[in-house]
């Protein structure tokens, strides 16, 4: 149930990849011979499938090593290419590090970055984007959906604002791609980053959608592959896997998303009815169909994970390593109290999850929480005072 972190490769994706690891090992750039031609045909077929997922055209797809590289290429590449026009970038506080770190690095090159706050549901108000714009703004980067709390951002509205002012709009769609419909035209997106391994494809491959005529400075130089936007010998088996994953995602999205949303809602219903003091983090409506993020008061996150360890792989809102809390900046940006961040659990449902599993997990969690609360000096203190404040 940690499908936000990664997903397993589907059998049909693996089957599609295998020939390109065995007999069809050609270099997609060497189209003078048969091996190369086969490889390049397969790459182009994959390009079409990826493009279809976003209603884009194949020539607008650049293959990369994953969403992290795609985000880097999009933000740094677009910012540097537009340097003459301006130096201001607008993003939000709960973006993935691939976006936040790249923006941070651009600041050292003299760019200015506005990191918009989000509301308590993790939602970026399009109005706040509008207010943040200056005559020097060149790029807006807001993710399509958040990986921790599942909130889906109003990117069509934000895209419209950017387009009306002639600004580039980038979206990190690593979590959203293949899970919710994304249409780069309808959403006025100029750059969109995605990874194969978040949608049942292989790791180490992804793509960046680049709208035609978008100025973009290459970040990886060399053989001039991918129309000089990203050099490097193409990862043919990976790209074929990505293409297949995109094709399958497109085919199954409606049914699978509805199935996962129903399971997720069932999980929430079971948890919230059997355990006292649980709250949902993230947007109540605009959220990924497979995401549930909860705070369970007076039960520590890692201890809960441990109790569920053979029933489900999950992750917590924060874990403590060596006495230093790795707090979740996402939960903090929502205004979740520090104490409650220690008690957050994230469920990322996926293809392998079933109704029986949901039942098992809800039951296990209920027992674990009861046990942990019985152990906890906080809970007892909170009960005694009839409040939730912590005993120090």
């Amino acid at each position: 149930m940690d499908h936000h972190a990664t997903t397993p490769v589907l059998p049909e994706v693996l089957d599609a990849m295998l020939p390109f690891l065995k007999e069809d090992f050609g270099n997609a750039s060497s189209t003078t011979h048969l091996y190369g031609k086969r490889a390049s045909d397969a790459v182009e077929a994959a390009r079409r499938h990826v493009a279809d997922l976003f209603s884009a055209s194949p020539s607008e797809i650049v293959f990369t090593s994953g969403a992290t590289e795609s985000d880097n290429l999009a933000i740094r590449g677009a910012a540097r290419a537009a340097r003459a026009k301006g130096d201001h970038i607008v993003t939000c506080a709960i973006e993935h590090e691939a976006v936040l770190e790249t923006c941070h690095e651009l600041e050292s090159e003299g760019f200015r970055v506005t990191r918009l706050p989000v509301d308590r549901h993790g939602w970026v108000d399009p109005e706040s984007v509008l207010r943040a714009l200056t005559p020097r703004t060149i790029l807006v980067s807001i993710h399509a959906a958040n990986n921790e709390i599942g909130t889906i951002e109003p990117i069509a509205d934000i895209g419209r604002i950017a387009r009306e002012r002639g600004l580039l709009f980038h979206t990190d769609a690593a979590q959203a791609a293949g899970r919710i419909p994304l249409d780069v035209e309808a959403m006025s997106v100029d750059l969109l980053a995605m990874s194969a391994h978040k949608m049942y494809g292989p790791k180490g491959v992804g793509a960046l959608y680049v709208r035609k005529r978008t100025p973009l400075e290459a970040q990886v130089h060399g053989g001039g592959q991918e129309k000089k936007r990203r050099s490097g010998t193409l990862n043919v088996p990976g790209i074929v896997g990505l293409g297949k994953a995109a094709e399958v995602a497109m085919r199954d999205m409606t049914g699978e998303s509805a199935r996962l949303a129903a399971l997720r809602d069932d999980l929430w219903r079971r948890i919230s009815s059997s355990i006292e003091g649980v709250t949902m983090n993230g947007h109540p409506v605009h959220r990924l169909p497979n995401n549930l993020n909860v705070t369970v008061k007076h039960a520590e996150g890692e201890a809960m994970l441990m109790a569920l360890r053979d029933a489900a792989a999950l992750s917590t809102g924060s874990a403590c390593a060596s006495g230093a809390m790795r707090g979740s900046y996402v939960l903090r940006a929502l205004g979740v109290a520090e104490d409650d961040a220690h008690s957050a659990l994230r469920f990322g449902l996926g293809r392998s999850n079933t109704a029986e599993q949901i039942e098992t997990i809800a039951g296990r969690l209920q027992r674990a929480v009861a046990r942990l609360r019985a152990l906890s000096p906080f809970h007892e203190g909170a009960e005694a005072r009839g409040g939730a404040t912590r005993v120090v």
């Binding site: 390593a321 152990l375 906890s376």
Partner: protein, 154 residues
Amino acid sequence: MSSSYADYGEIVLDHYENPRNVGEFEQPDAVALVGNPACGDQMKMSLRIRDGVVEEARFKAFGCGAAIAASSMTTTLIRGMKLEDLEKITNRTVAEALGGLPPAKLHCSVLAEEAIREALADYRRRAPGRLAAPDRSRVPMGPGSTDQTGAERK
């Protein structure tokens, strides 16, 4: 979103799942409530002391699996122990009794050590003169005490 419980050994898992001596006393001879401000974990230790010996020890804890296991292990270690020997227990003693802790989790056993120190101090406060002056030399937290704040795409 990360966790580090995957490296726990059998003893840790056992004490996490079946914690020993949970609870407290109506009239304890010593109580300590200590916390790790960095991770928010807390441990409460209550002792019943007779003739300079820990007759019984109980705990309550809010924290990760290692913190719970360390608290539980500590209560078993110190039962029947003379108060002067209590001073010698360090987080290393606790971690070793648990069959070791992953480096990132060593600090959780420090909570147990601190609880013992605090409980002793509390005992002295309650009954001045019953115990010799404390040994103030502190044991360092060990290699697990450095910050590890890496972030991964998850």
